[in-house]
C-alpha cells in the first residue's frame, strides 16, 4: 500500500519557505502516475458528453481541464475517477487499463467543489477515513493525519466538526483527506468554485505548493481561465465534448490553435476577413481594412480570423497613411475609442473597428496614449504579433 511518506516531513520545510518551482527544497514525497486517455467517449442516451478524447497526462504533472460548463471536462474527470463508466475508448494509469476497476479500488484522490466532508465525523475522522479503509494501524493513522493537517496548514482543528469550519477550511480538510493516503493521482473538480475571490487566490497558491510537496499527478477542472493560468503545467481546453488544444499557458495564449481557444483564454481583438497568400504570410482583407498576418491557412481555406492580444496593440492619435499599413511595415487600422477602463497599473481601451467589431487595447501606466472615449485613432501592431486562424462563426464576441 502506498501510504508511506518520509517521516522527516517535507511538509514543514516547504510550508515555511515557499521554494521556487524550479528548485524544490525537498524531493516530492511520491511519484505521480501517468494517465493515458485513448479515444475516451461518454454517451448519455443519444447525447455525447465526451467525444473521442485522447490525452496523456505526464507523471507529476499539473494538468488543468479548462472549458465552459457542458464542455465535457467534468465528465472526463468522472471517468478517470471511476464515477462514470466509459462508453468507448480506453483509460490507462501507468500503462495499466483501469476502465473496469471500480472507483474505490483505483487509489485516486478526489476533491469536490462541494467539499463532500462527512458531517458526522470530526476533521480527524474524516481525514482518517481513507486510511481506515486501507486498514492502516491506529498509531500510523494518527501520524499521517497530523502530517496531512500540517500540509494543508490546519493543525489544531482535528477535533472539530466540518460544520464548525469556514468554507476555505472545509476545502483544506477535503484536500488533506484526498492526499493522506498518498494517491498517485489527485483529481479536483472546481474545488475553489464555491469560495470568494480573495480566498480562492490564496488557496490557488496553496494547491500549487501542495502539488510540489506531494508530487502526485494533479488533474484540475475549472472554467476560470485565470485559475488555469496560475496553476497549470499544461492546460487542456475543452469545448463541445472534445479537446480543442493542449499546451502550456504560454503556448495557448501566444499560439492558440483555434478561435475558441483564443477567445476563451485571455482577451483578444478578432479581425475577420478573407485571407490570401502573400509571400511567406497572408493578407487579410476585411470590412474597411487590409492587414498582413503571419502564416497561412491550411487546406486552401480563405475565411479567416486574425487574433491580436491587447498588449500587442498600440493606439496613436494620427490618421493612417492608408487603411492597409504604414511606412514601417506595421499594420494600421482606423478605429474609434468607445470606452476607457482604468486598472491601476494599466488601462484598457475598447475600440470599434471599421466593420463594427470591437477591439481591446491595453496600455501600461507608463505608456498611455492620452486618448479618450470618442476619439478617432489608429490601431497599430506588428504583423508577427497576430495569429491567423480559420474563422469559427460560433465565436461571436470578446470574452472578458
Amino acid at each position: 500500500m502506498p501510504v508511506d511518506r518520509p517521516a522527516g516531513g517535507t511538509a514543514q520545510t516547504a510550508a515555511s519557505t515557499y521554494p521556487p518551482v524550479a528548485a524544490p527544497a525537498a524531493a516530492p514525497a511520491i511519484r505521480g502516475a501517468r494517465i493515458d486517455l485513448r479515444g475516451m467517449t461518454k454517451r448519455f442516451g443519444a447525447s455525447v458528453a465526451v467525444d473521442d478524447v485522447t490525452l496523456t497526462v505526464e507523471p507529476g504533472e499539473f494538468m488543468t481541464f479548462l472549458g465552459p460548463s457542458g464542455s465535457g471536462k467534468t465528465t472526463t474527470l468522472n471517468m478517470i475517477a471511476g464515477f462514470t463508466d466509459i462508453s468507448a475508448g480506453a483509460l490507462e494509469i501507468d500503462e495499466r487499463p483501469v476502465g473496469g476497476v471500480p472507483a474505490h479500488k483505483r487509489d485516486i484522490g478526489v476533491v469536490f467543489q462541494h467539499y463532500a466532508l462527512f458531517p458526522h465525523m470530526t476533521v480527524e475522522e474524516n481525514i482518517a477515513f481513507p486510511l481506515r479503509q486501507r486498514r492502516v494501524p491506529k498509531a500510523e493513522r494518527r501520524r499521517l493525519v497530523a502530517a496531512a493537517l500540517e500540509t494543508v496548514q490546519l493543525p489544531g482543528h482535528a477535533a472539530r466538526y466540518p460544520s464548525e469550519l469556514s468554507g476555505g477550511q472545509q476545502q483544506r480538510v477535503a484536500l488533506a483527506r484526498a492526499i493522506v493516503f498518498s494517491p498517485r493521482v489527485l483529481l479536483m473538480d472546481e474545488p475553489l468554485g464555491a469560495l470568494d475571490r480573495k480566498l480562492r487566490e490564496f488557496l490557488q497558491l496553496e494547491i500549487k505548493r501542495i502539488h510540489r510537496e506531494v508530487g502526485s499527478t494533479f488533474v484540475f477542472v475549472t472554467h476560470d481561465q485565470e485559475e488555469a493560468l496560475i496553476l497549470s503545467d499544461r492546460i487542456a481546453v475543452f469545448n463541445n465534448a472534445g479537446i480543442e488544444q493542449v499546451g502550456t499557458a504560454h503556448e495557448l495564449y501566444e499560439r492558440p490553435a483555434t478561435l475558441f481557444v483564443a477567445s476563451f483564454l485571455g482577451e483578444s481583438t478578432i479581425l475577420r476577413g478573407t485571407a490570401s497568400p502573400d509571400g511567406g504570410g497572408s493578407t487579410l482583407a476585411g470590412d474597411g481594412f487590409v492587414v498582413r498576418a503571419p502564416g497561412r491557412l491550411e487546406g486552401g481555406r480563405t475565411d479567416a480570423a486574425l487574433v491580436v492580444r491587447p498588449e500587442r496593440l498600440r493606439l496613436t492619435p494620427d490618421a493612417p497613411a492608408s487603411a492597409s499599413g504604414d511606412a514601417s511595415g506595421g499594420n494600421a487600422v482606423p478605429v474609434t475609442v468607445v470606452e476607457e477602463i482604468y486598472l491601476g497599473a494599466a488601462r484598457k481601451l475598447e475600440v470599434i473597428l471599421p466593420g463594427g467589431a470591437r477591439g481591446l487595447v491595453r496600455e501600461q501606466a507608463g505608456a498611455l496614449s492620452g486618448l479618450r472615449a470618442g476619439d478617432r485613432a489608429t490601431l497599430r501592431w506588428h504583423p508577427e504579433d497576430g495569429v491567423l486562424l480559420p474563422d469559427d462563426p460560433t465565436i461571436e464576441r470578446i470574452f472578458t
Binding site: G82, F83, P102, H104, H120
Partner: protein, 264 residues
C-alpha cells in the same frame, strides 16, 4: 380591538380542538386509579389496587411480556427490511418501478386492517402459524413496515448522495460506505422508524384478535377480552401503562433525533 378578538377566538378554537383530541386518552388515567370495581367516570375514590391486580395476575403479566417480545422482534425485523427497502427505492433508476414498489410497500397502511386480518388468518390456519410467535412477528411486521419505509425515506431524501461518491473515491466499497457514511447519517429516520414499528405492533388489536391462541395472547387482546367479559378497571391500569410507555418512546426518539441534528 377586533384583531385581538379574532386572536382570542383562534386560541379558544385551538384549545378546544386540542382538548377534544387528548381528552379520551387522559380519561383513562383516573379510571385506573378508581376504588370501585367498575369503570365509572369520574371516579369517586382513589386506589392503586388495579395496578397491584395487573402485576399479580399471570394473565396480564404474560400478555405484557408477549407484547414486549413481539414488539421488539417486529421493530428489529421491520427496521432491517424497511431500511433496505427505502434505500433500494431511493436508488432505483426506474422511476416507474420505484413508484410502483413504494405503493406496494405502503399498502398495509391504507388497506383496512380487517381485510389484512382475514387474509392473514386464512393463510396462518393452513400453515399452522396462528397463535405462534413467528406468526405474530410476521403479521405485525407487514403492518409496521410502511412506517419504517416512510421515515427512512424521509431521512434519505435529505441525505447528500455525493457523500457516497466521495467515500468510494477514498477507498470504501459499497457496504463499507453504507455502514460508515449512509447509515449513521440516516440514523434519526431509522430510529424513529423502529419506534413506530414497535408501537404499531404493541397496540395492534385487529389482526392479533384473529391469530391469537390461548398460548399467545398480547396485551391489547387481553384488554379486549377483559372488557367484553367484565368491566374490570385493571384494563384502565394497563391502558395507562401503554400510554406512558409509548409516550416515553416517541418523545425519547424525537429528542434523540433532535440532538443528533444539532450536533451537526
Amino acid at each position: 380591538m377586533s384583531a385581538r378578538l379574532a386572536r382570542a377566538a383562534l386560541w379558544l378554537t385551538g384549545v378546544l380542538v386540542a382538548a377534544w383530541l387528548v381528552a379520551p386518552t387522559l380519561v383513562v388515567i383516573p379510571l385506573g386509579f378508581t376504588d370501585k370495581v367498575s369503570l365509572t367516570f369520574p371516579p369517586t375514590g382513589w386506589s392503586t389496587r388495579w395496578y397491584a391486580n395487573f402485576f399479580g395476575d399471570p394473565a396480564w403479566t404474560a400478555a405484557l411480556a408477549n407484547s414486549l417480545l413481539v414488539g421488539v422482534l417486529v421493530a428489529a425485523v421491520a427496521t432491517v427490511l424497511g431500511t433496505a427497502a427505502a434505500f433500494g427505492l431511493s436508488r432505483w433508476t426506474s422511476r416507474r418501478g420505484a413508484a410502483a414498489a413504494r405503493v406496494l410497500l405502503l399498502a398495509p397502511m391504507i388497506v383496512p386492517g380487517i381485510i389484512v386480518a382475514i387474509g392473514v388468518y386464512a393463510v396462518f390456519l393452513k400453515f399452522q402459524l396462528a397463535g405462534s410467535l413467528a406468526g405474530f412477528v410476521a403479521a405485525h411486521t407487514v403492518l409496521a413496515l410502511p412506517f419504517v419505509v416512510v421515515s427512512v425515506s424521509a431521512s434519505l431524501g435529505t441525505f447528500d448522495v455525493r457523500l457516497e461518491t466521495a467515500a468510494a473515491s477514498l477507498g470504501a466499497g459499497r457496504w463499507a460506505t453504507f455502514r460508515q457514511v449512509t447509515l449513521p447519517l440516516i440514523m434519526p429516520g431509522v430510529v424513529s422508524g423502529a419506534l413506530f414499528a414497535f408501537v404499531t405492533s404493541f397496540d395492534e388489536v385487529v389482526v392479533s384478535l384473529f391469530i391469537q391462541s390461548p398460548a399467545l395472547v398480547t396485551l391489547p387482546v387481553q384488554m379486549y377480552s377483559s372488557v367484553t367479559r367484565e368491566t374490570d378497571p385493571t384494563l384502565a391500569a394497563a391502558a395507562t401503562m401503554i400510554l406512558a410507555l409509548t409516550t416515553v418512546l416517541v418523545t425519547g426518539g424525537l429528542a434523540l433525533s433532535a440532538r443528533r441534528n444539532r450536533a451537526r
